[in-house]
Symmetry: C2
C-alpha cells in the first residue's frame, strides 16, 4: 500500500489526514483566487498555496466600515453582500467534537459539486492544542484545508502578531507603572494578562516585576493562550483598520486610583499595536483538498469570546462567492447564539444554518453520561441515539429563534452502525427537521451533496433578527439568553457579579451585547446534565467588559484561559525530516 | 518638496529612511534571485519583495552538513564556496552604533557598481528594540534593505517561530515537573528561561507555577528577549535540518538530582521544536534599495552569543555570489573574534575584513568620555579624532591576527566636518592601514566604490586560522581571547566561575570554543575605558554551556538579556493608516 494512495485500504476510508494532504496536487493560489473574481494583484503569496488578500482587495469587496464598529449597528447592515451565508453550528458536543469543521469544508465542496461558486471560512489553528492533544484544526480526511502542515504551524503569522501586540500592551502598562505611574494605574487591578500561544499551566498564575527597582513593580499576573486574548476577538470583529484601531484604543487594561478604566489610548500605544496587526487583519486564502477557496482567519476563544473566524473573512467570502459556508464554535447555544446576537450586528447575517449531529453525540444525550466517557459511547445503542435527539432539536430551535431556516446534518463516522444512523435520521425527521447525512470525511464533496441540496433549498426562507435589543440593561440581555436560548428557569448573581454589572454600566458599556461563558457540554450550566435540562438556574459569577471587542462577558464558571500539556503531549510524536516534511501532526 | 522625492532637500541628504524606501520601485524578487542563479522554483514568496529559499535550493547551493556540527570541524571546511566573503566589523562603538549595517549594505552596492555579482547578509530586526528605542535595524538612507516596514514588523516570522519553539521547550520542562517528574529535574536549577520578542523589564525575574496543584510547580523563572535565546544561536549555526535537530537535542535545559544535564532529547520534544523551526531555517531573500540581493536571516545576541546572521545564509551567499558582504556585531574584539573562533569553524571563512570607524567613535576614544555623552561628541575636535585612532588600529590588528587582510572604512555622517574626516583618514593611513571613506548612507553604492575597490584589492591575500585549538582547556581558550584580543594582562575567576569551568568540562563540553560576554564600549571589561587599555585584568563571573549552539559562554558581567522600555518608548510614535502604511519606524 503506497503512502501516496490514501484511499486504498479495505474500507475506502482515508489512511490519515496527512496522507490525503500529501496525495493532493493543489492548484496555484492565484487560480483559486480567480474563482472568486480576484486578480493576481489582489492577493500576496505567503508560501506555496497560501495568500493574503491585499487591503485594497478587501476594500473593493466589502467597502469600508461594515457596522458602526460599536456593536450597535443595525442587523441588516450588509445588504450589499450578494452571497448566501451558511452558518454551521452543532448539537451539544462531546469533548472530541462532532466534526463541525469537516462538515463545513465538506458542505462547501458539496455546494461546489452542485455548480455553486462557493467559499468556506474556518478558524486558524492554535499551536497550544497542536502540541498538546493530538489533532488538527483544519478539518480532516477528504474535507480538510491545505497546506495542512503550514496551516497548523505558524501559518501566516497572524496569531504570532496577536501575541506581539498583546504583550506590547502589557509591557507598555508595566512600563508606565515603573516610570512614575502618572496614569495612577492600580497595580492590584491590572486586568490585562500576558499571552502566549502555548499550552503552559505554569504560566496561569505568576508574579512579575521582581528583582529590585530596576526591574519594574512587583505584582500578580497571569498568562492566557493567545486565542483567549481580547485582541483576537478585536481582530475577529473589526471591519477595517480604522475600526481595528478604535477598538484597540478602548480596551480596558486596568483600573486607576479613581476606579476608571486605563486604555491603550491612555498609554499612547494604540497605533503601535495596530501596526503589528496590519497584516493579520488581511484574510488568508487557501483551498480545500478539492480546490474550493477557503478563508482561514482568526480564532477567538469560543467561550469568553464569540469564537468564529473573522468578520472580514466572512464578509469578503459572502461578497465574492454565491455561497459562504462558515462555522461557529460549540453548539447553537454558544456559537450560533453569539453569531446571531454579536457578530450579525457587525455586518453578516446567516441565511441558513446547519446543526451538526452525530451518533456519538446523540447517544451521550440519550444515555445521560459524563461527556468524557468515550468507551461507553462505543457500544451500539439505537434506542439511546433516538432518545438523544431532544438535544439536537433544541439546537435547531435556537437557530430558528433568530429567524434562520435550519437543517440538521448527520456527520457519519467510520464506526457508526447503520442501525444507529437510521435511528438518528428518522428521529430527527420525525420532528419535522430537514436532515441529510454527510460522509464528507471519507468522500469529500460527493459525500455532502444531499446536505448541500437541502441547504440550497432552505436558504433565504427566513427573516433574521437578534434576540434582544442592545440598548436593554445588561441583566435583561443575560436573562434573555439564559431563558430563551439555554432554557434556564432563572438567573442568579454571585461573587460580586451584581456589582460588576453596575460598574460596567457605570463605565458606559451597558449598551453592548452580552457574551456568556458557559460549559459547551450541556445546554445548562452543568456539564453533566444531558438532553434538554429544565427547571435550573444559571449562575453568573463575574461580569467584565471586552470594550474593544464590543461585548460584555458574563462568566458562569471559572474559565480555563491557559490550557496545560497532558502527561504525554502530542509534541512527543511530532518530527521533521531533512527535507522539512513534518510528521505526527495528525 | 514632494514626499516621494527624498533627495530634494538642500544638503542632498535623504529626508528619511521611510521616504527613501517608499520612493524605490523594487524589482520582482524572482529577478533578484536570478542574479544569484536561482530559479523561480528555488524561492517561495512571503509577501511582496520577500522570499524564502527552498530547502532544495539551499542544499543545491551548499550541500548538506557544512562543518561537523559540533563546533570542532576544520576551519577550512568550506573550500567549495567560490565567492569572496567580506566581513564587516568595527571599532569599539558608541551606543548609537557606527553604521556597520549601512556600510555592509553600501559596500555590497559598491561592489555591484564595480560589476561584481554581490550579495549582502544582515540580521533580522527584533521587535523589542523597534518599539523601544527609535531606530531601524535594516540599514538606512540609500543603503538599506527593502521592504523596510515588513522587515521591521514580523518579517517572515522567523523570530516568532523561535519564540514558539523556545516556550514549547519551557512548557515541556514544567509539564514534566508537574506530571510526576520522572526525570528528577531540580526545580531550583532550571536554566532554560522563557522568551518573548518584547522589551519588558517586568519579566526579568518572575515566579511561575503558582495557584495550587493544578497549575504546576512553583519556582523562580525569568524571561529573555528572543534574540537572547540559545535557540537563536542554534539557528544561526546549524548547517541543515538534521544538524539543527542534533543541536536542539543537546541543549542543557536544567540539571537533575544527580547534577546531570536535562535536555530536549530527554524530554522527547526535540522533533517538535525542530518542526517549529523548519521554515525559520530557510534564508530570507530581499533586496537593497539598489536591487542588490540581500539575505536577512537570524540575529543572535551579539553578547552571550556570536551575534551574526546565520551560517546558512552566509554559506549560500558565498556559494552563489562572487562577493558576500556580511556583518558581525559590535567591534572586532567581539563580533569578528567570534566569527573567527566560532562561526568560521562551522564552515565560512572571511577573505577580507572591513573595520568601520567614524569621527564620532574616534573622538570618544580620543577624549576618554563616557559612551553616552553624545552632546560632547557634537563639538568638532580633529585632535581628539586623531588621538582616538589607536582604538581603530587595534581592531584592525585583531582581524589581522586571524590572518584576515583588513581595511578601514570611514562611515561619513552628515554633520561630520571635513577637518575631522581628514584627520581620521590621515591618522589611519599613517599607520599603514588601507582606508577609504564611505558616503553610502547619502549616496548608496556610488558612495562606497572607493571602499569596494580597496576590498577587492585586498581580498584573499591572507591565510585564515582561528586563534586557538578547540581541544585546549576552557581556561586556556579564555586566556587567549583575553590577552591576544582584548589586551588584558590576565584573567581572574570570581563568584564560582572556576567551579563552573570544572562542571562544564565534566559534562563533556570542554572542547567547544568559548564565547565571551563583555561590554562592547571598551576593549577592556570596563565600559568607561577608552582607547586601548593596558595592564588590566579580565574578570570571569560565570561559565555556562550553550551545548546546542556549540560554545561555552563566559560572562564578565551581568548581562541584560531582557531590555526595558524607556520613559517615552518609540511605540508611542508608531502608527498605521487605513491603507496599512506604517509610520514612525524611522
Amino acid at each position: 500500500m503506497a503512502p501516496t494512495d490514501p484511499a486504498s485500504d479495505a474500507t475506502g476510508a482515508p489512511e490519515s489526514d496527512l496522507a490525503v494532504a500529501r496525495a493532493t496536487d493543489p492548484r496555484p493560489i492565484e487560480d483559486v483566487a480567480a474563482d472568486l473574481g480576484l486578480s493576481a494583484d489582489d492577493v500576496e503569496r505567503r508560501g506555496d498555496g497560501v495568500a493574503k488578500l491585499t487591503h485594497a482587495a478587501v476594500r473593493e469587496a466589502v467597502g469600508g466600515a461594515a457596522g458602526a464598529g460599536d456593536g450597535a449597528s443595525a442587523a441588516d447592515a450588509p445588504g450589499e453582500l450578494d452571497g448566501t451565508t451558511v452558518l454551521v453550528t452543532g448539537m451539544s458536543p462531546t469533548p472530541k467534537g462532532e466534526g463541525k469543521t469537516v462538515t463545513t469544508v465538506g458542505l462547501g465542496q458539496g455546494l461546489a459539486e452542485l455548480g455553486e461558486r462557493t467559499a468556506v471560512a474556518v478558524r486558524e489553528p492554535s499551536l497550544g492544542p497542536v502540541f498538546g492533544i493530538k489533532g488538527g484544526a483544519a478539518g480532516g480526511g477528504y474535507s480538510q484545508v491545505l497546506p495542512m502542515e503550514a496551516i497548523n504551524l505558524h501559518f501566516t503569522g497572524d496569531i504570532h502578531a496577536l501575541t506581539s501586540a498583546h504583550n506590547l500592551l502589557a509591557a507598555a502598562l508595566d512600563n508606565r507603572l515603573h516610570q512614575g505611574n502618572d496614569a495612577e494605574i492600580d497595580a492590584r487591578r491590572v486586568h490585562w494578562p500576558r499571552a502566549l500561544d502555548v499550552n503552559d499551566r505554569a504560566l496561569r498564575e505568576t508574579v512579575v516585576g521582581l528583582g529590585g527597582t530596576a526591574s519594574g513593580v512587583p505584582r500578580e499576573d497571569e498568562f492566557v493562550i493567545t486565542a483567549a486574548s481580547e485582541l483576537m476577538a478585536v481582530l475577529g470583529l473589526a471591519s477595517d483598520l480604522e475600526d481595528l484601531k478604535a477598538r484597540i484604543g478602548r480596551i480596558v487594561l486596568a483600573v486607576d486610583a479613581d476606579g476608571e478604566p486605563v486604555t491603550p489610548d491612555d498609554l499612547g500605544v494604540t497605533g503601535a499595536a495596530a501596526a503589528l496587526l496590519r497584516d493579520a487583519f488581511r484574510p488568508n486564502l487557501v483551498q480545500t483538498v478539492e480546490g474550493v477557496p477557503a478563508f482561514v482567519h482568526g480564532g477567538p476563544f469560543a467561550n469568553i469570546a464569540h469564537g468564529t473566524n473573522t468578520l472580514v473573512a466572512d464578509r469578503v467570502g459572502a461578497a465574492l462567492a454565491d455561497y459562504l459556508v462558515t462555522e461557529a464554535g460549540f453548539g447553537a447555544d454558544l456559537g450560533a447564539e453569539k453569531f446571531g446576537n454579536i457578530v450579525a450586528r457587525e455586518g453578516i447575517v446567516p441565511d441558513v444554518a446547519v446543526v451538526v449531529a452525530t451518533v456519538r453525540g446523540a447517544k451521550r444525550h440519550g444515555l445521560e453520561m459524563w461527556p468524557t466517557d468515550f468507551d461507553a459511547l462505543a457500544e451500539p445503542d439505537p434506542g439511546a441515539v433516538r432518545a438523544g435527539v431532544d438535544n439536537v432539536a433544541k439546537h435547531v430551535s435556537i437557530a430558528e429563534s433568530f429567524g434562520i431556516p435550519t437543517v440538521a446534518a448527520i456527520n457519519v463516522f467510520g464506526d457508526d452502525t447503520e442501525a444507529e444512523l437510521a435511528a438518528l435520521e428518522e428521529a430527527i425527521a420525525d420532528r419535522g427537521i430537514p436532515v441529510a447525512r454527510s460522509t464528507a470525511y471519507r468522500d469529500g464533496g460527493a459525500g455532502a451533496t444531499d446536505l448541500a441540496e437541502l441547504v440550497r433549498e432552505r436558504a433565504g426562507t427566513g427573516s433574521f433578527s437578534p434576540l434582544y435589543d442592545v440598548d436593554a440593561p445588561i441583566r435583561e440581555k443575560i436573562e434573555t439568553v439564559a431563558r430563551e436560548v439555554y432554557g434556564a428557569a432563572g438567573v442568579e448573581y454571585v461573587d460580586g457579579a451584581a456589582d460588576d454589572v453596575e460598574r460596567v454600566e457605570g463605565w458606559g458599556y451597558g449598551d453592548l451585547p452580552v457574551c456568556l461563558s458557559k460549559t459547551p457540554y450541556s445546554l445548562s450550566g452543568d456539564a453533566a446534565r444531558t438532553g434538554v435540562p429544565e427547571g435550573w438556574t444559571l449562575t453568573i459569577r463575574e461580569v467584565t467588559p471586552s470594550a474593544g471587542a464590543g461585548f460584555v462577558v458574563a462568566k458562569t464558571a471559572d474559565v480555563m484561559t491557559m490550557p496545560g500539556l497532558p502527561a504525554e503531549p502530542a509534541a512527543e510524536d511530532i518530527d521533521v525530516d531533512a527535507d522539512g516534511d513534518v510528521t505526527g501532526l495528525f
